[in-house]
């Protein structure tokens, strides 16, 4: 209140106020600087803070968790338990929890089986490692086999006979036909 009070006499485009004095201008400038500094420090206007905490959406969570009784992803489940889970998630979202916090709360309530993706620990790690290992093995296999396939194709091309030779009669007829077009 006091900050704005100090600038009451500074009216742009209206000419100097009858009560305007140089000390008033200085006070106003100082007040403005303080206000800008205060707003700059405010977490409410910190754009990085706003960008770092996007609003958690229900569909995003539903895709990542399971209905614990029906053992299917929550986004396709329609059982009474899935409705309870949804209501619980809605409550957490309403509390302003982030996606990670919501998932963490769900694990605390229902255990790790509530997560759709297997954990990256113990035997579950195989779910991530095996596909990578299979892809690497296939690449290795291709790297081994491709040169031999190419060599085989080249050898076949080298040993295969050229296009069949024309018989003397056909050659003569072809020459005659070509001469007619000359």
């Amino acid at each position: 209140m006091r900050i704005f009070g100090a600038c009451r006499s500074l009216r742009v485009g209206l000419g100097p106020s009858p009560v305007s004095r140089p000390t008033n201008h200085l006070a106003c400038l100082a007040a403005m600087l303080m206000l800008v500094a205060a707003l700059g420090a405010s977490p409410l206007l910190d754009s990085s803070a706003i960008a770092a905490t996007p609003r958690t959406s229900m569909p995003a969570i539903e895709r990542q968790v399971m209905c614990v009784t029906c053992k299917i992803p929550l986004n396709v489940a329609e059982s009474p338990q899935s409705q309870r889970e949804r209501a619980y998630i809605r409550g957490l979202i309403a509390e302003g929890k982030t996606e990670a916090q919501v998932k963490s709360e769900l694990v605390a309530q229902y255990g790790t089986s509530v997560l759709a993706l297997p954990s990256a620990k113990g035997f579950d790690l195989a779910a991530y490692l095996v596909p990578v290992a299979v892809v690497l093995a296939l690449i290795g296999l291709l790297a081994l086999l491709l040169p031999s396939w190419r060599r085989h194709a080249r050898d076949q091309a080298a040993t295969s006979p050229d296009s069949p030779k024309l018989s003397a009669g056909d050659a003569a007829r072809l020459d005659a036909d070509l001469e007619r077009f000359d």
């Binding site: 614990v68 009784t69 009474p80 338990q81 309870r84 889970e85 619980y88 694990v107 605390a108 309530q109 229902y110 255990g111 790790t112 089986s113 509530v114 035997f123 195989a126 095996v130 093995a137 296999l141 081994l144």
Partner: protein, 177 residues
């Protein structure tokens, strides 16, 4: 080359078999009971939070009492059906120094608390938040009930809804040991 492919294929099949075996529920307790043994209740030192929210307990902290260990969840219909039987057992056991001990599994605490209030459950309940305790008992379906004697040994198992006859017989067996 065929040898390498064969080894890789065998490794994949081995991994699959190991996965199926390690994920399938343990039935060693059931086998032991069938053979007339009383195996030690597993995972008795795993601390679990009380559903009421006041601290944590282990199964071992009930040593010296006959314990009717019951796995349940609010969404489980048979759990609702057997709830009055367990409550009656609690009244009987409490007079003799024993207790029913509920363990919620794959259930949110607000839902479990609603169940407790609705069915007037008076016995203590713990929350198996990691599923580690249930896994030690081979529990995948609920309800499941394990009757444990005062020495901490399992004397009877019911995988499914209990009836009064089973529970009375199992408690009598636990008390006689």
């Amino acid at each position: 080359m065929p040898l390498l492919i064969g080894v890789a294929g065998a490794a994949l099949v081995g991994l699959l078999v190991y996965g199926v075996l390690s994920q399938s529920p343990k039935r060693t307790l059931d086998e032991a009971i069938k053979q007339g043994h009383h195996p030690t209740a597993p995972a008795s030192t795993i601390p679990m939070p009380l559903l009421s929210g006041n601290g944590a307990r282990t199964l071992a902290s009930y040593r010296g009492k006959v314990v009717v260990l019951n796995f349940w969840a609010s969404w489980c219909t048979p759990c609702q059906e057997e709830s009055p039987i367990l409550e009656r057992a609690q009244h009987t056991l409490a007079r003799r120094g024993g207790t029913v001990l509920g363990v919620t599994f794959r259930d949110s605490s607000p839902d479990s608390l609603t169940f407790v209030k609705h069915y007037g459950v008076s016995y203590p309940n713990l929350r198996d938040t990691t599923g580690e305790f249930a896994q030690a008992y081979g529990t995948t379906q609920i309800p499941e009930t394990f009757v444990i004697d005062s020495s901490g040994n399992v004397v009877a198992i019911s995988r499914g809804e209990i009836d009064e006859a089973f529970l009375n017989h199992a408690i009598a067996l636990a008390e006689s040991v």
